[in-house]
């Protein structure tokens, strides 16, 4: 079905890059999400303001604009600033880095909301009890809050991952060799664009399907762990 003049294995191999960007961006998004959810309930006013601005702006602007802004706009801005100070500078961002950072940054905003809800569902008495036992703030976070928040956050994080993986298709426009870009190259070379993009879409569908099964399995395990 997918002959594509020998391009099929190349497109399938490009899945590795899609998953690599996806997983790295997801790790980054979780870190941003934890920081963001902490900042949303911080005591300092400006920290809360920063976190709220982050989630408001990121969720209100299309991913494509943010990606273009980061990949093309940011280097230009730095170069212009350097030039105005009398330096000659040429910045070239690595597409993998730009893609991972942008997607991680965007989905960090969604993770922030997920974690905020998760931390809010842990009864306040638990942290107080741990405090009474003499645990430091960090220890309370590591031993009491984080494990439970992760359990509450699991369904939400699974949904973020599913949307995030699909968003990685966007970074093909900044020339990273993932599924979409390879499908495009194959489409142009073989003149069979439908076959090439159908294959690409089925690969994404495969990732989504496996993720759904994985999410189901993880949630069942977490539910079991929660019983004890």
């Amino acid at each position: 079905m997918f002959e594509l003049g020998g391009y099929t294995p190349i497109i399938i191999a490009a899945m590795k890059n899609t998953l690599l960007v996806g997983v790295s961006a997801m790790v980054l998004a979780v870190v941003f999400g934890l920081l963001g959810s902490w900042a949303k309930v911080a005591e300092k006013f400006w920290v809360r303001w920063l976190a709220n601005t982050y989630t408001t702006v990121v969720r209100g602007v299309p991913e494509l604009i943010l990606l273009l802004l980061f990949y093309y706009g940011f280097p230009q801005l730095v170069q212009d600033l350097a030039e105005s100070m009398g330096y000659e500078l040429l910045i070239d961002i690595n597409p993998f880095l730009a893609g991972t950072l942008t997607i991680g940054f965007i989905y960090g905003a969604f993770c922030t909301e997920v974690f905020r809800g998760a931390f809010a569902s842990i009864p306040a008495g638990q942290a107080e009890a741990a405090n009474a036992l003499g645990m430091s703030d960090f220890l309370i976070f590591r031993r009491i809050l984080l494990p439970q928040a992760m359990y509450f956050a699991l369904p939400g994080l699974g949904n973020v991952w599913m949307v995030l993986v699909k968003a990685t298709a966007l970074i093909s426009i900044i020339q990273l060799d993932e599924i979409m870009r390879m499908a495009k190259i194959a489409a142009n070379a073989t003149r069979e664009p439908f076959t090439a993009y159908l294959l690409a879409s089925l690969l994404f569908l495969g990732i989504t399907a496996v993720s759904m099964i994985g999410q189901h399995f993880l949630e069942k395990r977490a539910a079991k762990a929660g019983e004890h």
């Binding site: 209100g60 943010l66 706009g73 801005l77 298709a169 979409m180 879409s201 994404f204 569908l205």
Partner: protein, 230 residues
């Protein structure tokens, strides 16, 4: 960016804004009309109705919109001869048609899934009461189930429309001059990269929150019987 530049390119950005709004509204309207039958098919007991709708929803929710867009816009070229014979090529050669076609199918799948959940969560007692009053089939759906389902689905559906509006920025990649497309065109002429992108990002932000505000008002209207929420 200077004031003169904003004045000079403002008109073009406004054109782009209307393209964005046009594509989004068309897709949302047609998508909604298609989504209700698809959701009902998905809930049907008959496998011939259930499975095609399940596969449709699974495919469009499980693949990136960008791939779907390329599949329709570039992919249709592979079937040019067949499409010409059917008299459809004149539509599929145009980027605007392909954009609306793809976004419609995409939002249809997401909307059908939202409505499926909403229809299922209409309390059974309400449906039984409707039956007891002698309503059947279509009348029951039209007067009892669908209005209640709309109320339940509304917050999620509002988010879907906002997501679709943002996703419509992807049509700039298939050469359309929506808000993003105009921005990219202006940048290629002026090299004012970050100024234009930041301006356009702000415009999207404003559209998003205006839409969110409107949907919130409609939600309040739909929930007007519920004093605790309004």
């Amino acid at each position: 960016m200077s004031m003169e530049m904003i004045a000079e390119y403002g008109a073009r950005l406004l054109d782009g804004f209307w393209v964005t709004i046009g594509i989004t509204s068309l897709s949302v309207l047609i998508g909604l009309m298609l989504a209700i039958p698809v959701a009902l098919m998905r809930l049907s007991d008959y496998k011939v109705l259930k499975w095609p709708s399940y596969a449709f929803i699974f495919y469009f929710r499980g693949t990136p919109i960008l791939v779907q867009l390329f599949l329709v816009y570039y992919g249709s070229g592979q079937f040019r001869v067949e499409l010409t014979e059917l008299g459809l090529w004149q539509y599929f050669r145009g980027a605007y048609f392909c954009a609306v076609f793809t976004l419609t199918l995409n939002t249809c799948a997401y909307t059908a899934e939202i409505f499926r959940g909403a229809i299922k969560s209409v309390p059974i007692g309400v449906i039984e009461a409707g039956r007891a009053c002698g309503m059947s089939g279509i009348l029951l759906y039209r007067r009892v189930i669908l209005p209640q389902a709309l109320r339940i689905a509304w917050p999620a559906y509002g988010n879907e429309i906002i997501f679709l509006m943002q996703a419509s920025s992807l049509v700039s990649i298939i050469t359309l001059l929506d808000l993003t497309g105009v921005a990219r065109r202006i940048i290629s002429e002026t090299f004012a990269v970050y100024e234009v992108y930041i301006l356009v990002a702000l415009l999207y932000l404003i559209i998003t929150y205006i839409l969110a505000f409107i949907f919130k008002r409609i939600e309040r209207y739909l929930q007007r019987h519920n004093k605790a929420l309004s």
